[in-house]
């Protein structure tokens, strides 16, 4: 019995140390972005927001389970084009589009919170299914963010995107 308790105690200590180290080792990035353009008949559209990305990584090489990347975007859409069916946001990881979020789904995504149109948050966890297959704690990688807006109506689609931003995850 005593031996079992000692083993459990050692395991708890090791686990706590690993988790503590993983939580302590992180990098994060914050920036603001914006995009604007013109619709038929000269109406303007605009989106702006903040990006926040944070990577907590596991110090043990090859052990991916505790390493994760989370990112969220706060979106403002003062011109209220959010209902346009073509409006999307992209997350690009390591050169590939890993997440495409249409406007009507912005309130339903993994790590995001729910806000009314005009101020929305969506987010994605690298360790969730959206990013699985691309995430590797052994390999340094870069994310590229493009906040792209396809606005469409009966006269066709127009739109644009903010400038690309690239950041090193870990």
């Amino acid at each position: 019995m005593r031996r079992v308790l000692v083993v459990i105690g050692v395991l708890v200590v090791v686990f706590t140390l690993v988790v503590g180290a993983a939580q302590a080792a992180y990098r994060q990035l914050f920036y603001e972005w914006s995009a604007s353009g013109i619709k038929p008949r000269g109406r303007l559209w605009s989106y702006s927001g903040n990006y926040l990305g944070r990577t907590d990584w596991n110090p043990l090489p090859g052990v991916n389970v505790l390493t994760r990347h989370e990112s969220s975007v706060y979106v403002r859409n003062p011109t209220s084009d959010i209902r346009s069916p073509g409006t999307v946001l992209y997350f690009i990881h390591d050169g590939q589009v890993r997440r495409t979020v249409p406007s009507y789904a912005w309130t339903m995504t993994g790590c995001g919170a729910i806000y009314p149109p005009g101020g929305l948050v969506f987010g994605g966890c690298t360790t969730n299914s959206q990013y699985l297959g691309s995430f590797d704690s052994m390999r340094r990688a870069q994310d590229r963010g493009t906040w792209a807006f396809f606005l469409c109506d009966a006269a066709g689609c127009y739109g644009g995107g903010s400038r690309d931003r690239t950041w090193t995850l870990w």
């Binding site: 992209y90 009507y104 590229r144 396809f150 689609c157």
Partner: protein, 252 residues
Amino acid sequence: MRYRIGTIALLGLLVLVGAVALARSAGLTAPFPGIDRVESAAEAARNGDRETVLLVADKPITAAELTEMEHWVAANLAWMGEVGTRMAVTDEQRAFLERQARLIEEYGKPTVALAALIVDRTLEAEAQRQGLWPDERTVQARVERDRDLAATSDDPRIKAYLQAFGETAFWQVHYPRVVALEIAKERLYQERTKDEPDPTRRQARWLAEERALVLGAPIEVVVPERLPASIDAAVEYLKQYYDLQSSVSSTG
């Protein structure tokens, strides 16, 4: 010798000027696809013929508006054609844009321009009927906000449109009318969908509401010979357009 060098330099300069002019006319130096069409749209909006060609829900559509909208449709087509190479798009997004572009090309730009204005006027009439039209103060506040936005935007289409239209006329005369309709549409959307909390169902509800309003709007042709396309074709395009939008909305 000096004369010969001068002649060669002059010829070279002429060739250069000609090449730049040719490239510009072909849109090769355009920094954004369809920007020449955006400029033409502004010119049509400012200087076009104000004769009423048809009435939609008792709201007039002028010859100038039909011409302007046709330029916008052309600009949008140019943008949609190039967007895959300029922006990150997924296969689904590209397929959606291609379907919409094909639909526009199938019906033709004049038909699509007419259809887009039928939508505009229908929603305008419905918003006014429901007392949702914004007051002058609200409109002016939006004009000021968007004026600040335009000043900081680096979108070349905004600059091109404003330059071709003339800034003073745009902000003082044209934009208040445009933005009033935009606010009225927003209010109509809120009014018709406010009791639906789910965003997917809300979007579907709005598309269904808009479709019913637009396809039920009374249309009276005032000057048939100036109509750029048939009303039947425009209505048929709108049915296809709403089908396409609804399929995107329901599948995500």
